[in-house]
């Protein structure tokens, strides 16, 4: 039985990596949000499979929370923000797409190099996925750097959160329940605050381009 769950978890990990790359190369905001929702769904599925395979009830609870938070609530909020600020236009990138992808690949290789010594020591069934989780985190970090608009940067931040969550579930069958709740609460409050900020920036600079946020410097 474990052979199947092992394969399923690896499949979900591969899917997550693919989605991270897709978000890195995506130009339009709407499809960026769809990809994020997809990532949330994959995460929830992986958590349920892990919960089923290791018979740990709290994994089901966290899977449910992920589903509620990252598949329903946050995308709904983002859509609301997008429509309210009528942000439909393409997303400029600071560096063109091909170079970002190549750098992405280098990052993935580096992540695996890092995770290699740990994965063969780890006993959890999803040993190999730690490298992928680290890769997801680094890729979303990369995404935040290369985006020049506020909303894509927020989505990058959320993707990094997803990567971390997957690392928690994959490497250690999820954190203790209380900590999971705390993290989820923090993510939620973070999103609310970012939403408030988006409105304030829009009101102050009537554009969401971050290049206007460069006055505080010590040249």
């Amino acid at each position: 039985m474990t052979g199947l769950t092992q394969q399923l978890v690896n499949l979900f990990a591969a899917l997550l990596l693919l989605l991270a790359f897709a978000m890195l190369a995506q130009r339009r905001i709407l499809s960026l949000i769809h990809l994020y929702t997809l990532q949330g769904a994959v995460l929830a599925a992986a958590a349920t499979i892990m919960g089923y395979a290791t018979r740990q009830p709290h994994l089901f609870v966290s899977a449910g929370m992920t589903l509620a938070l990252k598949v329903i609530l946050i995308p709904w909020l983002l859509h609301g923000v997008i429509s309210r600020l009528n942000v439909r236009w393409d997303v400029e990138m600071l560096i063109n797409v091909p170079t970002t992808l190549i750098v992405g690949i280098v990052l993935v290789i580096f992540a695996f190099y890092l995770a290699a010594p740990i994965s063969e020591v780890s006993t959890s069934i999803a040993r190999g996925t730690l490298g992928i989780a680290l890769a997801c985190v680094l890729l979303s970090f990369m995404m935040m750097i290369t985006r020049s608009k506020a909303v894509p940067q927020v989505i990058g931040f959320l993707a990094m959160e997803n990567g971390l969550f997957f690392a928690a579930t994959a490497a250690t069958y999820g954190m203790p329940m209380v900590v999971e709740l705390g993290i989820a609460l923090d993510v939620l409050v973070g999103i609310l605050i970012l939403g408030v900020f988006l409105f304030q920036i829009r009101e102050q600079f009537d554009t969401l381009d971050i290049r206007h946020l460069e006055k505080l410097k010590d040249e």
Partner: protein
């Protein structure tokens, strides 16, 4: 540790000074209490310090530990011969200056008198405790508190921009010097982690580390004393301070730097290397020449005295350098002679420089004028200040009956012994160094004649000078004490040498044997070799003065008539026809042209309003300090680009840091 009676008394007196300061803070704006009660009380405490320190010169060293300070390193205090001597100098000069400042501080609108009283007495207490400190932490705390208190005193009327600038420069160089001293103590403790001086004395450093410690001490204490490369703050800070404070800073604070250097060079470092002496001698000479040459070119009376302080510090360090040189070659007796010359100059400079600064203070108060171009003829309206400052001028010029001459005499005598050095190169050095010392002493006379002549003699260059009033009773008392100090140091050298003997015995292991000179003849080695009897000397001059006076009155007459001075047929004599300060300094500026950085503005023949101006600059400022400032500014600008403002860049930094740390961890 049983604390000796003298040390306990001295610590109590320092506490008394602090108490007076705090009392001043309490009576912040009540001027009379501060001026008439607290400052004289400070003077009385200073006298008590003299009384307590005198017996300690001969006594055995006393130790005490206070529960203050760091957990592992409480405050250690120690009173030995060297500390006692410098406390005597501090107490003596501070007594006179405190009495003077009782009358000096008026209801001026500068800082509140109570605050001034607090800073003044914290300054005195800090200096005394620096001299008593016996571990690195106590020394550093008291050293920087002294710098801090004197900084606040220097910037007491901080509404003038260039006084603020002077205060800033002063505290900056003092702090950098203190960092050097901290590094020196770090080297001296030689990895034992115990920072008490007792432990440092027990360490035997390798010649390399001993030299590193010595050079750090020379740099650190030289910055506070005003040795040449680090002297730029002194001509700015001393004139900016109120006069009694400049007197204390010049007279006593520079001596704490000399004390610190002697403590490290002789007490904490067991053995001395010969080239240390040469380095100190060279720096001392450079400071002396630079000081006196620049003093001659000044046209502000307090800057002139500040530069002359640099010259005197140069002479003191030259004496110390010579004594280190002799000590390194084992010539103990001659090293004692050179060290006695240096210590004697410390004492006499403390008294006559305080007297001169206090004199300028009285002039400044009477005329509220500092530039020499606007003074003149004050002798008639301020006789007390005039005669007292005349005595200070004679002592500062190193003229025979007074204190300045004795230390110069001892220094020149010690130069005559240098041909006994085994190193042939140094023997050749002797005539050059002796010549420079003689030239500096002569130039000091030139500067003092200029200082005294332009201020007190001649005609009033401004007509408001006629209303100048003489010094008040307190001020006269203070000046009288300082004059008495100068005269005593001049006429009774044998007794002063007896006080210095145990100190040189402690430091160099030998002292000036008072051979057969009796009590009124100064005989360093033997009568045939050299001797100087100021009392007989003074009696000789006085006798012939008196005889001539009486005989002329008896044989001829004493009639006197007043008339207008000789005007060589040109009736419109004005005060502007007298020699100005710049004029009087012109020959020295011409002869020592390369030492200055002069910018002259000469009027052309067709100028409607011809204007002549000469601006004397300091080479070190242009070749050392400005490039350093530009270097730091350039580095700051380069690092400034780190904070460019774009969030993407910041995220990139964070990303790069994570990658770097991960690589570091997993290598």
């Amino acid at each position: 540790m049983s604390a000796g009676p003298q040390l306990v008394a001295l610590l109590a007196l320092c506490a008394a000074w602090l108490a007076i300061g705090v009392a001043g803070l309490a009576a912040l704006h009540r001027f009379h209490i501060v001026a008439r009660v607290l400052f004289p009380a400070g003077g009385a405490v200073a006298l008590a310090v003299v009384a307590a320190a005198l017996p300690a010169v001969w006594g055995a060293p006393e130790m005490a530990v206070l529960p203050l300070g760091l957990p592992g390193l409480p405050f250690h205090f120690r009173l030995d011969g060297l500390s006692a001597l410098f406390l005597l100098v501090l107490g003596g000069a501070a007594a006179g200056v405190s009495l003077f400042s009782a009358g000096y501080f008026r209801q001026s609108e500068g800082t509140a008198p109570g605050l001034l009283c607090l800073q003044y007495h914290v300054f005195l207490a800090a200096m005394a405790l620096v001299i008593l400190a016996d571990d690195a932490y106590a020394f550093m705390v008291m050293w920087e508190t002294m710098a801090l208190a004197s900084f606040f005193l220097v910037t007491s009327n901080h509404r003038i921009a260039e006084i603020r600038r002077a205060g800033y420069l002063y505290l900056l160089i003092a702090h950098v010097g203190a960092l050097g001293i901290l590094l020196c103590f770090g080297v001296l403790q030689a990895n034992t982690g115990d920072y008490s001086f007792a432990n440092m004395r027990a360490q035997h450093l390798s010649p390399f580390w001993a030299s590193v410690a010595f050079l750090l001490a020379l740099g650190g204490f030289g910055a506070k004393a005003g040795l040449v490369p680090l002297h730029v703050w002194l001509p700015e800070a001393h004139p900016a301070a109120p006069s009694p404070v400049s007197a204390l800073m010049s007279g006593v604070m520079l001596k704490t730097a000399v004390y610190g250097f002697l403590r490290v060079a002789y007490d904490l470092l067991p053995a001395q290397l010969w080239w240390w002496g040469v380095v100190v001698l060279a720096l001392g000479l450079a400071s002396a020449v630079f000081g006196v040459v620049f003093a001659a070119a000044q046209s502000d009376m307090k800057r002139l005295l500040a530069w002359s302080s640099i010259e005197n510090i140069g002479l003191i360090f030259a004496g110390i350098g010579l004594s280190i040189l002799f000590a390194a070659y084992g010539m103990r007796a001659v090293a004692a002679l050179a060290l006695t010359a240096a210590l004697y100059h410390v004492a006499s400079h403390a008294f006559f420089k305080s007297l001169l600064f206090v004199g300028t203070g009285a002039v400044l108060h009477a005329t509220s004028e500092r530039s020499l171009g606007k003074l003149g003829g004050l002798m008639r309206v301020m006789p007390w200040v005039g005669w007292a400052t005349l005595l200070g001028v004679l002592a500062s010029a190193g003229l025979p009956p007074l204190g300045g001459f004795v230390s110069e005499w001892l220094l020149l005598q010690s130069f005559l012994f240098t041909p006994g050095l085994p190193n042939s190169f140094l023997n050749m050095l002797v005539p050059v160094v002796a010549a420079v010392i003689a030239l500096v002493a002569a130039l000091a006379g030139y500067v003092m004649v200029k200082f005294y002549g332009v201020i007190f003699l001649g005609q009033h260059r401004e007509d408001k000078l006629a209303q100048a009033h003489d010094a008040g009773p307190w001020e006269r008392l203070g000046m009288a004490w300082l004059v008495a100090g100068c005269v005593a140091l001049g006429l009774f050298p044998a007794q002063v040498i007896d006080i210095l003997a145990p100190v040189t015995q402690l430091l160099v292991g030998a002292s000036l044997a008072q051979a057969d000179g009796g009590s009124w003849l100064l005989v360093p080695v033997s009568v045939e070799r050299a001797s100087y009897g100021p009392l007989i000397f003074f009696a000789g001059v006085a006798a012939s003065f008196g005889l001539a006076y009486v005989l002329v009155r008896r044989l001829y007459h004493g009639r006197l008539r007043r008339a207008a001075p000789w005007d060589c047929g040109f009736p419109w004599q004005t005060a502007r026809m007298q020699d100005t300060a710049e004029g009087f300094g012109q020959p020295v500026r011409q002869i020592f042209e390369p030492l200055y950085r002069m910018r002259r503005e000469l009027p052309s023949a067709f100028d409607a309003r011809p204007r002549y101006a000469v601006e004397v600059g300091d080479h070190f400022w242009y070749w050392l300090y400005l490039p350093l400032a530009r270097l730091v500014d350039g580095a700051a600008r380069a690092i400034g680009t780190l904070q460019r403002g774009r969030i993407a860049i910041y995220l990139l930094y964070s990303f790069a840091t994570v990658i770097a740390v991960l690589l570091w961890v997993t290598r």
